[in-house]
């Protein structure tokens, strides 16, 4: 039995070694060496000069994540309480944008938000003045929310469908109105979905370079753009890029760690 499971695990072990362990090791190696493979701290100290960029990235990602949560939570709840057919329909509508290419979707927002884009053309046509939308923080956050919303909705929805209606009825039976049902039943029971949703939204949002590059312009240079420049841009510097990636990875790990400290019971206590 154990022998068989070992054999079965073999391809996955190879996969993990090839695509997780080796690349991670390479990132470490590059981050702590210079071009001639000598050990150095320079890359990291250099990277930490970009602290403001990192802080801005975290700020925008947190903002986008919070907005996603606020939009997704009620929607996921409504979806989970619908009957089978409308549930499938709504899940498909949520997934539908994901079938289109990520770049294309972001491009579409560019043409909508541009100074000569759809919205501004419309505003002008009815005699209003243009609004600067593209190349603002708002546009970046909008792009993040739009692109990552499904990643918030789906885990929330999937955990909420598992909440048995009888449990909600039991709470109502014991005297809980809808607010109490939400606070004392739905929220604590959907909490694992919230953590998953936040992780799946925050992590890509904090490291994005496409959205900030296309919708944020040069004013909204984020940590993702910085990393991209080191690998693909003019400032080609693998070691420096690796160090920045490492820094970002540590930040993500720490924020996830802090977040997971709030376990169910604690959160519930603070609410009651």
């Amino acid at each position: 039995m154990t022998k068989r499971s070992k054999v079965a695990a073999f391809p996955y072990i190879i996969w993990i070694v090839l695509f997780t362990i080796i690349p991670l090791t390479l990132v470490f190696v590059f981050a702590f060496t210079d071009k001639s493979l000598h050990f150095t701290w320079d890359n990291l100290t250099n990277a930490s000069k970009y602290m403001p960029v990192l802080i801005k990235s975290i700020y925008l990602a947190v903002l986008a994540t919070v907005i996603c949560l606020v939009i997704a939570y009620p929607l996921a709840y409504i979806m989970s309480r619908k009957n089978g057919n409308s549930q499938r329909m709504m899940v498909m509508l949520v997934m539908l944008p994901m079938w289109m290419n990520f770049l294309l979707r972001t491009y579409a927002w560019m043409t909508i938000l541009e100074n000569n884009g759809l919205i501004n053309t419309f505003l002008q046509s009815i005699g209003l003045s243009k609004i600067q939308m593209i190349n603002t923080q708002g546009a970046v956050v909008l792009g993040m929310v739009y692109n990552y919303l499904p990643f918030m909705i789906l885990p929330l929805y999937s955990i909420m469908t598992k909440i048995d209606n009888r449990i909600i009825e039991a709470a109502q039976d014991l005297g809980a109105g809808s607010l109490h049902v939400l606070r004392r039943i739905i929220f604590p029971l959907s909490f694992p979905g919230i953590t998953t949703g936040i992780t799946m939204t925050f992590v890509p949002a904090v490291s994005t370079f496409v959205i900030s590059g296309m919708l944020g312009g040069s004013n909204n240079f984020l940590i993702g753009d910085l990393i991209e420049q080191q690998f693909l841009g003019n400032e080609y510097n693998l070691n420096y890029g690796a160090a920045t990636s490492l820094l970002l990875m540590i930040v993500v790990l720490i924020s996830m760690g802090i977040f997971n400290q709030f376990d169910n019971a604690e959160l519930e206590e603070t609410l009651i």
Binding site: D164, R166, I167, A170, Q172, D173, L174, G175, G177, H180
Partner: protein, 366 residues
């Protein structure tokens, strides 16, 4: 028993997707009684319970509680509490917090919560279980938590939706006695839903037999058992022999080719009727001209009694007796007048669908 009516259901109709689940139900539930809604699955008993709890709104008809119309009152404002099928305990709360749930909603002081929860734990024999996770409890223990959680609010009425369904036979019997005791001690109304006729007869002050969305019969257990109103009730409540007959006159019935004296009157002359005879009421003796004669086909030992099938001119009688007779022997069956129960052919409410149910049941047994 107090004769005051606590819940009155008037002409209740419930429809789910074009299907009538309840067809003009009328039911008065008396204060402080143990009443059981009994019937096969899909008969509308759970829907009736959910109407009282407020989880189903009737499409037609009125629900009164204490004389006040409560059709539009949501569940959380009703003075009833429910023990749900499969208990529906809150998985994220421990035993103590599950039971305390109702009190916390009312912002009860912590000290009072503590003492009342402990009192409840004691009542359901779960002292010391407060800190346990509900997932680690056995079915019987979970069920006790569900009962405690419902009763801590001091409801006027407790609704129980097949609460013993998931328990094994031994535990079920124990809980039946406990529930009955609890109801008498607390002196509140219990409305109990079950498909188990024995459970219904054991615990209830009154039994409501339902089938196909209508109430067939309401009465005390002895009455339901001894005087079933139609073949469905007779079949559903215990085992019985149902045979067609003719009512020649008051107290004079003919079936199985013989004339019998019975205790029933009020039928039309020569009316076609159904006769119910319980298997344990039939006595076996040597065949004579007076007895219904037949051949013993099978003998099965059932523990307390033997069950024998006796074939008499094609009709197979089911007989329970503490003495067995060898299969193949010819026997005579005798009946005393009080063993013969006469039922009208069509259900008293005139609803025809009962008779289709009869046919089904008949096919199974005969």
């Amino acid at each position: 028993m107090d004769s005051g009516v606590i819940v009155k259901l008037q002409d209740i109709v419930v429809q789910f997707d074009d299907e009538q689940v309840l067809k003009k139900i009328n039911l008065d539930i008396k204060d402080k009684e143990f009443i059981t809604l009994l019937g096969p699955s899909g008969c509308g008993k759970t829907t009736t319970l959910r109407i009282i709890g407020g989880f189903v709104k009737p499409d037609e008809g009125k629900v009164y509680f204490d004389g006040k119309l409560i059709n539009g009152i949501p569940p959380f404002k009703r003075q009833v509490n429910t023990v749900f099928q499969k208990y529906a305990l809150f998985p994220h709360l421990n035993v103590f917090e599950n039971i305390a749930f109702g009190l916390r909603l009312k912002n009860t002081p912590e000290k009072e919560i503590r003492s009342r929860v402990l009192e409840m734990l004691e009542m359901v024999n779960l002292e010391g279980f407060g800190a346990k996770n509900v997932d680690y409890l056995s079915g019987g223990q979970q069920q006790r938590v569900a009962i405690a959680r419902a009763l801590i609010n001091h409801p006027r009425m407790l609704l129980l939706d097949e609460p013993l369904g998931a328990l094994d036979l031994q535990l079920r019997k124990e809980m039946q006695i406990e529930l009955k005791k609890m109801q008498q001690q607390l002196n509140i109304t219990f409305v109990y839903v079950t498909h188990d006729q024995e459970e219904a007869l054991t615990m209830s002050d009154r039994v409501v037999v339902m089938n196909g969305g209508i109430i067939n019969q309401i009465g005390i257990p002895e009455h339901i058992y001894n005087e079933p109103i139609n073949a469905f009730v007779a079949k559903f409540i215990g085992e019985s022999n149902i045979i067609e007959g003719i009512m020649h006159d008051d107290l004079d019935v003919e079936f199985a080719g013989k004339r019998f004296v019975c205790l029933d009157k009020g039928f039309a002359k020569k009316e076609l009727i159904d006769v119910v005879i319980r298997p344990e009421d039939i006595h076996l003796m040597e065949p004579t001209d007076e007895t219904i004669n037949g051949t013993v086909e099978t003998v099965t030992f059932k523990g307390v009694h033997f069950e024998m099938i006796v074939d008499s001119f094609g009709y197979k009688w089911k007989i329970h007796s503490t003495k067995s007779v060898a299969a193949g022997s010819v026997v005579g069956l005798t009946l005393t007048p009080e063993d013969i129960h006469i039922m009208k052919k069509v259900d008293s409410t005139g609803v025809k669908n009962v008779s289709t149910e009869e046919d089904e049941v008949d096919d199974e047994t005969f």
